[in-house]
């Protein structure tokens, strides 16, 4: 139940207009990915190294003035967060099937 509530809260975060419509500044998109990453990590303990790398690359591109690349990287980071969330959801029970009987 707790996991479901967390999943719902996270889903609402993902469904925010900022992410869906692509509105807001690129900095906002990077922040959204960073916040989503941290929240998921806090809720589930699942973190992928590649997500952090992607967020850093997005920030670096933004700092270099490459807004288009930065936004693309921020969206890729958000995709990785979503994939991590799916992994956490699936593994919440699936791990038990691997235990030898």
């Amino acid at each position: 139940m707790k996991f479901l509530a967390k999943g719902l809260a996270f889903g609402m975060l993902l469904a925010s207009p900022l992410v869906i419509a692509g509105s807001g500044s690129t900095a906002d998109h990077i922040k959204a990915a960073t916040d989503a990453y941290k929240q998921l990590s806090k809720d589930t303990g699942y973190q992928w190294t590649v997500t952090v790398i992607k967020i850093k690359e997005a920030q670096k591109a933004l700092d270099a003035g490459d807004d288009k690349s930065a936004r693309k990287l921020a969206h890729e980071a958000m995709d990785l967060v979503e994939a991590t969330r799916q992994q956490a959801k699936i593994e919440a029970d699936t791990w038990k099937m691997r235990v030898p009987k």
Binding site: S41, Y46, Q47, W48, Q87, E91, W95, V99, P100, K101
Partner: protein, 277 residues
């Protein structure tokens, strides 16, 4: 009819519940049996030699390395550190005895504190209790000292206990078990994927070792590291390899994982330190 259906469903539900909630003793028996079936040519006690227990072609090379072991310097350094006096005139020997031959006592469940105590943690807590700074957790002096202590403990039986009168101990074990079997990281691997289900298979140029016996030989000199490292250093390395952020060494996650993995090797002997690829 409804009653029969309910009864049948109830029985099935109970059966399913039992099948996923076996206790540590049943877990361990099934775990060890799994490896015995997978590697029928490996004598049970030989699993403590890691991948070399299942890889005859690499074993010869490993045995040659063991004649002039790369961890020998660590043992010597560890001996010096072990007997070095703290500022208060005491030493690690005051906590662990004249030779530190206590490997077989770790990890254990500390009822008073409600947590798993590893040997590395015990060493650093001894230092702190005597007014000294703790060592780092993954390599360097902590690995040297525990190499010396493990060397003097060789042959001690692995006999981790999960006290039945403290449900928190079982919970810690279960958390470690979940860690072992849960897929993580972008590569979507569990410990069990490499070291159980596909143990003995090649991943690029390396053969994965069986998890049965994993916890006996630490600390280890790894050729890849060109240095000594603790078990938690290896856990973190594995997690990084599968692109998962590692947990903190000696944090709850890795301590509980060590508790589970070591319990699974009950009956084997501690044989650290060791050399590994």
């Amino acid at each position: 009819m409804k009653t029969i259906i309910r009864g049948t469903l109830g029985t099935l539900g109970l059966g399913l519940a039992l099948s996923v909630s076996a206790g540590p003793v049943e877990d361990q028996a099934a775990f060890q049996k799994y490896y015995e079936n997978k590697f029928p040519n490996t004598p049970v006690m030989d699993f403590q030699n890691g991948v070399y227990s299942i890889l005859p072609e690499a074993r010869e090379q490993w045995e040659a390395i063991e004649e002039f072991p790369p961890y020998e310097i660590a043992i010597e350094n560890g001996e010096k550190l072990y007997h070095s006096k703290f500022a208060n005139g005491k030493s690690l020997a005051d906590c662990f005895g004249p030779e530190g031959a206590v490997r077989g006592q770790y990890p254990f469940w500390d009822k008073d504190r409600g947590m798993v105590i590893t040997m590395e943690r015990a060493v650093n807590e001894c230092r702190e209790a005597n007014g000294e700074k703790p060592y780092g957790w993954k390599k360097g002096k902590i690995a040297d000292v525990t190499a010396y202590m493990s060397f003097n403990s060789r042959g001690q039986e692995v006999k981790v206990e999960i006290p039945s009168d403290d449900p928190r101990a079982l919970a810690a074990y279960e958390e470690g078990k979940e860690q072992f079997y849960t897929k993580r990281g972008q590569l979507n691997f569990a410990c069990a994927d490499c070291h159980m289900l596909t143990a003995g298979n090649l991943y690029r140029a390396d053969t994965t070792s069986p998890a049965f016996g994993h916890a006996t030989s630490w600390p280890v000199f790894r050729s890849k590291w060109q240095s000594m490292g603790t078990l938690h250093r290896r856990f973190a390395g594995c997690h990084t390899n599968i692109r998962a952020n590692p947990y903190k060494a000696q944090g709850t996650e890795y301590s509980n994982l060590e508790y589970f993995v070591t319990y699974m090797s009950n009956g084997l002997e501690f044989n650290g330190p060791a050399a590994r690829k």
